[in-house]
């Protein structure tokens, strides 16, 4: 992996986290008790905006001549990178608008819900464009649907795990002990399903790099890194299942509910490093 690709590792993971958070927050935004979740939703929105601002800075760090980025939307007709840049900008734009409305005005519930839904949808399209730009015939290890599944899985896994932690933290703010809400349980369930998808994708859908008319293949990532990737995801899954079946969640332990998110984030960052390390192109 080139050193310049470190910024891409963090840029893609952070943007996917922000998109995943906006998807995971939807059940709370559209809940009948949405007013109870207003503060939590606001925090999720602020966090996603902050993350996208960091992602934007990281994307510029990857450029060797950022001044010419003014031309980056010139080729929307054929370039997936151009389309990705458009959707990064749109996603950030909608996030900022939603923040503006929440911060400076009393959000009119109907308008606000639609705006969050549109923002989450733009996030979904952003992950799509991001994966499409890597699915190119010249790079066999990336040129498969597996890349798209990997990117959406990252978004759903770390996004839902973060919002789960956030929801427990907010629900235990005014009560010593709470029972996990149905929405929080849905997020935990969604994360578990996503882990299963990640495992299936890795075992059965990843392209067979032994095929193809290629001269050079990369050295695989150090085995201990991959072991850490699978151990962290396994530990995160165990923590999630524990949270799911635990009868009461206490205020004292509220920060511990971010443990699955932390473990999944580490795991997905290692997976992303592995993704960039797997690069090789056809021919010479």
């Amino acid at each position: 992996m080139h050193s310049s690709e470190w910024s891409l590792v963090f840029f893609t993971t952070i943007s996917q986290l922000a998109a995943g958070m906006m998807i995971a927050v939807l059940p709370f935004v559209f809940s009948k008790k949405h007013k109870e979740y207003a503060k939590m939703n606001q925090t999720a929105l602020y966090s996603a905006t902050g993350l996208m601002l960091i992602a934007l800075v990281l994307s510029f760090l990857h450029l060797n001549n950022p001044v010419n980025s003014v031309y980056a939307l010139s080729n929307l007709k054929t370039s997936w990178l151009s389309r990705e840049i458009l959707f990064v900008s749109l996603f950030l734009f909608f996030l900022v608008i939603a923040n503006f409305i929440i911060y400076f005005k009393n959000p009119q519930v109907k308008y606000y819900k639609t705006l969050i839904l549109v923002t989450a949808s733009v996030g979904v399209v952003l992950v799509y464009t991001m994966s499409k730009l890597y699915i190119i015939p010249t790079v066999p290890p990336w040129n498969s649907i597996s890349t798209m599944i990997e990117f959406y899985s990252t978004a759903l896994l770390i996004g839902s795990a973060f919002v789960l932690g956030l929801s427990i933290q907010y629900e235990t703010k005014n009560k010593e002990k709470i029972q996990l809400s149905t929405k929080a349980k849905t997020l935990a369930f969604m994360a578990i399903i996503t882990i299963l998808i990640i495992v299936v994708n890795e075992l059965f859908l990843s392209p067979n790099v032994a095929e193809g008319n290629v001269a050079f293949k990369p050295l695989p990532l150090n085995g201990s890194f991959m072991l850490t990737r699978w151990l962290t995801i396994l530990l995160g899954a165990v923590a999630l299942i524990y949270i799911y079946f635990k009868k009461n969640s206490s205020k004292k332990m509220s920060l511990a509910y971010y443990l699955p998110f932390t473990l999944f984030l580490i795991s997905e960052l290692i997976a992303r490093v592995d993704f960039y390390t797997s690069f090789y192109n056809i021919g010479l």
Partner: protein
């Protein structure tokens, strides 16, 4: 050309692919998309660079520098159809990228031991790669 977000890569009337340095932002996406590994980053300028086929020499009626310098006289530049008539139509030779991806404007007079199958392997990788 299709991959460049900035439309900084263009083709001249003569079919030479060039880079507009005033538009390139050095994202290096073309480096991934190019099957020939033809594009590299100019670290000083922060923009991508590639072989220009010495278009300025060609305009003056001279040969490209590599053609003129080759001691074994194995390189030739000219009209593609004319070259095909002269040397045949061999272009799908391992380890060059598969022609269905590239549709190359190139003609190679095949060495008798050159392979077209993926069964063939390069055994002197260190010498070939980054040579």
């Amino acid at each position: 050309m299709k991959s460049c977000p900035n439309k900084a890569i263009y083709k001249t009337d003569e079919g030479i692919v060039l880079i507009d340095e005033k538009k390139c932002m050095g994202c290096q996406y073309c480096e991934w998309a190019c099957p020939y590994d033809a594009l590299t980053l100019d670290n000083e300028k922060g923009v991508m660079t590639k072989c220009t086929l010495c278009y300025d020499y060609l305009a003056e009626g001279k040969e490209p520098a590599c053609v003129a310098a080759c001691p074994m006289r194995v390189l030739e530049v000219g009209d593609l159809d004319e070259l095909k008539r002269k040397y045949g139509n061999h272009d799908n030779i391992f380890p060059l990228p598969p022609v269905h991806h590239t549709k190359p404007s190139i003609v190679i007079k095949k060495h008798p031991s050159a392979g077209e199958s993926k069964e063939w392997k390069i055994i002197n990788k260190e010498e070939v790669k980054n040579a």
